[in-house]
Symmetry: C2
Subunit: 299 residues, 2 copies
């Protein structure tokens, strides 16, 4: 039964019997039969069948919600009992939006000092992907915006406020300024994240509100790529202050606070809403709270 529920979760995620079977480590007929058996025991169709996978029925969607909860609880149970036996071990899968990737170290490093047997997987994801992956039990936690778009069934720990800076060569236009306005930022050639990133959508909004015409000359989903371009001196970019600091400013590259308005967005840790949490998740949340205190003291 529990494995059949896993099949349903995988199927809803992959929208494809074959791929879902692969991620579950079984063959496609096995997964097909599992879904069919689930349908028989519940007495309803869960999957809309045409010549191929179309989608879940309303009953299937409802069952999916239950499946996520039940499978999640079963995993939490196993993890908690294991933690009782041998302390905190295992793997924490954390997904982060690109602008927070540098901040992850501030979370993982003190965590590892406390719990040396825990291994990490850090993934770069969009905020939407993070919420999806949390729902599908593919990751244990996410680092993303808390205050912009709806979060769903998650618990959140605010960590810090993102403030925006213009990253540019000191001999480029605006390179000598103490502060710049969003209207001014709009006038220089920018390289920014791709529009599937929430950070980009935020910056787009701020530029538009300042009356700037929007035409970034380069897009990437990698902050490293953006930073490399800024280093050439021919592009500028907009980055959160915390990230610019981590990447390291040289004499030729400056980070200039952007004002009018001095925009701020809250970044935080999100974890699945579950009571009680898994021991690993609970420990990560505790670490995040400590980090939030430190960041509030020394902004």
């Amino acid at each position: 039964m529990l494995d059949k529920l896993e099949y349903l979760i995988a199927l809803a995620r992959e929208q494809h019997f074959g791929r879902a079977a692969e991620t579950c480590g079984v063959t496609q007929p096995t997964l097909s039969a599992g879904i069919k058996q689930l349908e028989e025991t519940l007495g309803v169709l869960l999957v809309q069948r045409g010549s191929r996978f179309i989608g879940l029925t309303p009953e299937g969607q409802r069952t999916l919600d239950w499946a996520r909860r039940i499978v999640g609880d079963a995993r939490a149970m196993r993890e908690e009992i294991k933690a009782l036996r041998q302390g905190l071990t295992g793997q924490l899968r954390i997904a982060a939006i690109p602008t927070t990737l540098a901040m992850v170290a501030a979370l993982t490093t003190p965590f590892r000092a406390r719990h040396p047997d825990v291994r990490f997987t850090i993934l770069s994801r969009t905020s939407i992907e993070i919420l999806n992956a949390l729902e599908n039990l593919q990751i244990d936690a996410g680092l993303t915006y808390l205050d912009n778009e709806p979060l769903g069934r998650v618990s959140a720990v605010p960590l810090y406020h993102e403030r925006y800076q213009l990253l540019t060569a000191s001999d480029a236009p605006l390179g000598d300024r103490i502060t710049v306005t969003w209207a001014e930022v709009a006038t220089v050639p920018l390289c920014l994240l791709t529009p599937d990133m929430q950070n980009r959508r935020i910056i787009d909004g701020l530029l538009r509100a300042a009356g700037g015409e929007l035409q970034p000359t380069l897009e990437s989903n990698s902050m490293i790529a953006l930073f490399a371009h800024v280093r050439t001196g021919r592009w500028a970019s907009v980055m959160p202050a915390q990230l610019a600091e981590t990447l390291g400013l040289t004499t030729t590259i400056r980070a200039i606070p952007i004002v009018e308005p001095e925009a701020m967005h809250t970044i935080g840790l999100v974890v699945p809403m579950r009571e009680p949490m898994t021991p690993l998740t609970a420990a990560l949340v505790a670490e995040a709270r400590r980090l939030a205190v430190r960041m509030a003291e020394k902004p």
Copy 2:
């Protein structure tokens, strides 16, 4: 996996491998092997083994908590999907303390008018047994005191306040009074519930507080037995007003309010704390809320 968790729940309840196996509908070796397999997958001992069942280990207790939740959720899922398909059907198992048994009809009758395909099982239980049975997923709801002893992980809907009356023959001592005091009640030969009943413990407390010496001449765990004795005219009893009313007063039997103090205890419906509730439980809670409104209007 799910069935193994059911084994654990049954074992914790029965404290006996053989009986637990029987309630699960499997043989004792099957249940033994199931528990052992659970222990192997979790990597801990769940059961303290001597020559016979001793108890659960701390890890076993923790696993039991998870098992109750997971098994409960799995059942709730099945029930909810079934309700989507064919409306509210199935069985509602309700346990009630004896003094509320007559009130159950006020709940079940309007419920059945709305949902004719639901069948009921009504059990007479002590308040402690009700809470245990709720934990062990043996009943769906209980009717008991809300304000005296700790309830545990349940949701409660207050229904009405129990007030106490002396039930006695009109030609017996005190039989002609408008009201009586607890001190006076202590002077007549009483038949009361057995001390495992919370109602009895409440009445004991009230009698003791009034300085009365406590010596009921007859005990039973059945209200019917108590009432039958009162009907002989040789015994009196103490009953909640609502119950005395239902049992029907004759010209020879009177129900006299007991004052000093005019004691009151809250009776309500308790159901397992689960979000969302099963459809049957949710419907029962809704019915209980309606009943509470009616009883508050016309006390």
